[in-house]
Symmetry: C2
Amino acid sequence: MELTNRKKRILRAVVEIYIATAEPVGSKAVAQQAGLDISSATIRNEMADLTEMGYLEQPHTSAGRVPSTMGYRLYVNELMGEHRLTMQETQRINDALNLKMEELDRVIDRAGKVLSQISDYPVFTAAAPKKRVTVKRYDLLMVEENAFIAVVMTDNSVVKNKLLRMPDQVSDPQLQMLSTVLNSSFVGLTLEEMEDALDQMETRSAPGAFRLISLVVQFAMEVLNEQASQNVHTLGITHLLEHPEYKNLDKAKPLMNYLAEENEASKLPVTLENGQNMNILIGPENVNEALKDTSVVMASYDIGDNMRGVIGVVGPTRMDYAKVTARLSYFADSLTRMFGKGELPPGDAGEDGSEKD
Amino acid sequence: MELTNRKKRILRAVVEIYIATAEPVGSKAVAQQAGLDISSATIRNEMADLTEMGYLEQPHTSAGRVPSTMGYRLYVNELMGEHRLTMQETQRINDALNLKMEELDRVIDRAGKVLSQISDYPVFTAAAPKKRVTVKRYDLLMVEENAFIAVVMTDNSVVKNKLLRMPDQVSDPQLQMLSTVLNSSFVGLTLEEMEDALDQMETRSAPGAFRLISLVVQFAMEVLNEQASQNVHTLGITHLLEHPEYKNLDKAKPLMNYLAEENEASKLPVTLENGQNMNILIGPENVNEALKDTSVVMASYDIGDNMRGVIGVVGPTRMDYAKVTARLSYFADSLTRMFGKGELPPGDAGEDGSEKD
DNA sequence: ATTAGCACTCATTCTCCCTGAGTGCTAAAT
DNA sequence: ATTTAGCACTCAGGGAGAATGAGTGCTAAT
């Protein structure tokens, strides 16, 4: 059987009505809104064909039709219209992003929150881990005789600090020395290399000096570790409850728990095929059991020259794909514009590389 | 009518059975478990009395009894038995807290998560704002010719840094100068005082120098602002869904939204009367509308010498108060032991005052 | 003072029936 | 050869009663 143009238009109408109403769609409803001047009987025939072809499904004999995964897929790939953002929405997004140049993760968090609000679905964000982060430089600042601040800057311009406290006293010259050693021997190394370097140092250093060094290096290693780990956050989980498919708590609970558990959420499909910067996974296309009846729309954005972040929306398969993709891609573009290219973004108050996590 | 000892024992039994079952409690059930050898008829009489006195309520004529707010109050104040933590539980708590000496807010976050898990209720945490935080010292670290790192340390030992970027070039001596100015004129001031000082400086400084100063001071002000703001987090909201009172979504939604919205949550009753370090608010004792049918159990813990944090559990009025208070007070004590007294906690890797928020 | 017994109440559950949206098929109309 | 009107049929969802049973309050006996 051939998928005529008219069939496509009908399929599109079914998907859109279903997205709007969450109820199986009958032939009459399609006849009214599809815009094609055709009687419901004809549409019934066409819909029967579409069902046979696998694009539609029937929950039970006397009910309307519901798009199948295949139907959604076709809709997303070919039929979906461009959705325009209203002025109000772009305004809202821009407000959220421009508010103030803050730390990267805060901006993303806020972006996620706004995205979740305007889309009414939960949102997850993930900064794709950077493979080889290294420390670019160390600074040590004396505070009291037995405490100092270690400032560590990585090659992706993240700066972190920690107040370190010692049992023994430390003098200013000692700190100078320490700083020299760190900046010569523990710079440009990956996490593993640092570990090795530290081990080696242990054997051929005075124990006192080594304690100091190891204190700072350990902190540096924590920082690198943090940078290397996939850090997935989910926001706005409660939006799920607003959608009829989750009015049954037994449906909602597993998914909510899945999203709420951070370690679980980290299994979200936060990777994108090479080159792709937008991806839609529909229902069973998700590998994970908990996401069986759930669609995930995600987009990537650039951070600096060689990092990528992923931001995505999670919702029922009956999700307003057009709306969501429009918003999502606008977000991703905006974020890329903010963080992509050139080490760090411009901004009145300068930039902040700290506390990225 | 007098509240005899027997009446109290019956009330206690009713509360505990109701806590366990979430169903109105009948005389028969009480007779079985109360341990007093008394027939259900007698208990019926006593329960009738308790109802008249206001400690119990009857949802409808032919239903069992449910504790009233007054009943819970009495239970919590007088009748509630000590609940012992199992070895396993203390172990779990200790694991969570001792894992590694990290930043304060992470430890608290983790503590909250575990508390939420072992109590099955949402948890909120709040570091009570410190009134007068001031900057103790500034450090500036040159990075490139048009970028430097500002490190700000407050008098409550919080250290924050930010990478600042400039349109103009800055020289090392210039930075030195800047640092001197900052450390002499912008130290020991509160947020408002700093604003004033900055205004004054503007009139009588060279514009170029002022831009630099204002950049750093603005950052310092952000840090102070962050310290001064009540920062409430909520964790484990989804646990609500596990309790029968929220199986009706219309009940669950407002509360979940209330807890999820951070600005809303900040209105949580996170204050404790002077001297108190544990407080229970039962149902209507909560001022807030959204918490009308909800109880809040909270405890405070010390951070350093002059800060207090609050950690609390939110749940239905039918909440296992004994269990929750036991866990909560153990947590609060542990946290106090970790962070209380003496500026910062001991720990193998030293301590961290950074990123406290 | 306590308890057994009994009539009564009422939320909950189940059953059965009805309604109406929607279908598929057939026959007429274009 | 399509398209459409008409009609019989299906079946989920909803509402009305009836049955159930947990629980009560009261009375009379212990």
